[in-house]
């Protein structure tokens, strides 16, 4: 089917959504910005920017502390955002929503607090070759500290997870399976339902790194029956510095605190301290108040458009980009798993990814180049680095065209 004949979704008003993102109307190197790096960090709509600004202008104070008006107001908004997050991922209760600095901290929290309490030498943790470093290094800490065994599931040439290998790696010594919901390089959506079912069958817990899933698809932690789910706010059109750890209440309850400080205790004496109830037990110190409220606003913004419509729009962009990029001579796309999300990593035979990124940047096009914090995956595919274009709710087919044109320029210069 020719690209022109493909159905364009009429209900999706991308121009109106673009107008919500002030940064998208800026120019780079004298050209209109074409932002294709949302998988690294998404831009923010005015609804989020205004909400954060409003907090500081009219509703800011420390939370859970004062009895004065502003503290109560800030606490209400901060806890209100927790309820928005709970609803978005369909957690059973807000006590299961822990605020963190980002997904990295969420995973470190589980590794440190759950891992130290529950793991013994010889216990096994399974990750995959497509993990972001954030879901590798915290488990290496545990391996080195506790003598647990860290195993990694290989990836097929098309970017799918090798489920046969996963089945073989899963044993009755497996205690934790920590995998990406979606690969940040390949865009592959992992068969998480199967992974969770099979892991639970051997008595293992499952942590999903949802950083690249949460902005692209509806996530229902209860339907998944996942034990822990981690994501960052900044990839979900929210502020940086705020992230989420979802955990099943029974698991979180049994875990010791991660960090000590204010807000995470119910009483402290020099001899002994008692921990606060969930979720505050894991939230030591003054939290990222405005950022949490901003994340709530970001989720409401996404919900106002509809995550399913966003997914449909991004699928159209992905299909279009895949066709257009395939027409660029000497370009190879990494990751072609069926049903993948709108992330397209690629290499070119004529140019290094850093050269590609530099030249397309001259044309106003922002792509990522490098190892994407996934060096084991790059080694697995035997490339040092790759360029990556990733699409969000505000990208357009015209921007895919701009990318393709700038890649033709790369060919002219290096070819």
């Amino acid at each position: 089917m020719a690209i022109e004949e493909m159905d364009q979704d009429t209900a999706y008003d991308v121009d109106a959504y673009r107008a919500d993102f002030p940064i998208l109307s800026t120019q780079v190197n004298g050209r209109p910005l074409v932002y294709l790096d949302s998988a690294a960090s998404a831009q923010k709509p005015r609804q989020v920017i205004d909400r954060v600004s409003q907090v500081y202008q009219t509703g800011y104070a420390n939370v859970h502390r004062g009895l004065h008006h502003l503290s109560e107001r800030a606490t209400e908004d901060y806890e209100g955002a927790r309820e928005i997050i709970r609803r978005y991922i369909n957690a059973a209760a807000t006590s299961e929503i822990i605020y963190t600095r980002g997904a990295s901290e969420s995973i470190n929290l589980v590794a440190a607090a759950w891992g130290r309490k529950n793991l013994k030498p010889g216990d096994e943790i399974i990750i995959t070759y497509l993990e972001h470093h954030s879901n590798i290094v915290p488990w290496q800490f545990l391996r080195d500290e506790l003598g647990v065994v860290l195993k990694a599931v290989p990836v097929q040439p098309d970017g799918s997870l090798d489920m046969e290998a996963f089945t073989a790696l899963l044993t009755d010594r497996t205690r934790m399976v920590a995998v990406a919901h979606v690969s940040n390089v390949l865009g592959t959506i992992l068969p998480v339902q199967d992974i969770i079912r099979m892991s639970h069958a051997v008595g293992a817990k499952v942590l999903l790194d949802g950083c690249q899933a949460i902005q692209h698809m509806a996530v229902d932690v209860q339907a998944l029956d996942v034990d822990f789910y981690a994501f960052s706010g900044h990839k979900l059109y929210g502020p940086s510095g705020i992230g989420v750890l979802y955990g099943k209440e029974a698991l979180l309850d049994a875990m010791p605190p991660y960090q000590g400080g204010g807000d995470m205790i119910s009483s402290v004496s020099i001899e002994k301290s008692e921990w606060a109830d969930l979720p505050h037990k894991f939230e030591a110190g003054t939290p990222a108040i405005a950022q949490a409220i901003g994340l709530g606003a970001a989720i409401e913004y996404v919900e106002s458009i509809g995550i399913d419509l966003i997914a449909e729009h991004e699928r159209d962009l992905l299909n279009y980009a895949t066709q257009k990029l395939a027409s660029v001579e000497g370009l190879t796309i990494m990751g072609t798993a069926p049903g993948k999300v709108s992330v397209v990593s690629f290499v070119m035979d004529c140019a290094h990814p850093h050269d590609i990124a530099t030249i397309v940047d001259r044309h106003g096009v922002a792509v990522r180049a490098g190892h994407h914090c996934a060096q084991p995956l790059m080694d697995h595919f035997d490339v040092g680095s790759a360029a990556r274009a990733s699409f969000g709710l505000y990208n357009t087919r015209a921007e895919v065209d701009a990318l393709t044109t700038s890649l033709e320029k790369v060919r002219e210069i290096f070819g």
Partner: protein, 151 residues
């Protein structure tokens, strides 16, 4: 000993800088400057196998950069290359100024030409980091030679 490798193409680092400023000043268009930079990179000699080892890889560069200094008479000769073409171009201009100079010249020479040929403002921040890592390594090696001679 043959003398050709000891003779840089220009007599002093200052002359090399002026020459580069002239060469790059010839182009109005940035795409042309990039093309020229890339051409210079392509003309870099192959890195001797002895130096294509991890210990000669520079940290602080997003692409892979190998850089090794070699004493030749009273001067330092640098071998360097990158797997990225634009970075190799930057290496080529740096070596024009800094390679086959005495350690004293290397330490004293400020890289003013980088701003004047526009590499400073027109290359992305990560590349600038790579550039400062390369400069730091070159100057660090020269400084070590000076200290060894003094010590």
């Amino acid at each position: 000993m043959t003398t050709d490798s000891l003779e840089p193409a220009t007599a002093t680092p200052e002359e090399a800088q002026e020459e580069l400023i002239d060469e790059f000043g010839f182009f109005d268009d940035w795409d042309d400057r990039y093309s020229y930079l890339i051409d210079l990179g392509r003309k870099l000699p192959e890195l001797p196998d002895a130096y294509r080892r991890d210990e000669f890889k520079l940290k602080g560069c997003q692409s892979q950069v190998w850089l090794a200094g070699e004493k030749r008479g009273d001067r330092l000769h640098f071998h360097a290359i990158s797997d990225a073409a634009i970075v190799s171009g930057i290496i080529a201009v740096l070596l024009r100024v800094y390679s086959d100079r005495t350690p004293g010249e290397i330490v004293e020479t400020e890289p003013d030409f980088i701003a004047q040929i526009g590499l400073d403002s027109h290359l992305s921040p990560t590349r600038k980091n790579g550039l400062s890592a390369m400069l730091g390594a070159i100057k660090g090696r020269a400084q070590a030679e000076l200290e060894a001679a003094a010590g």
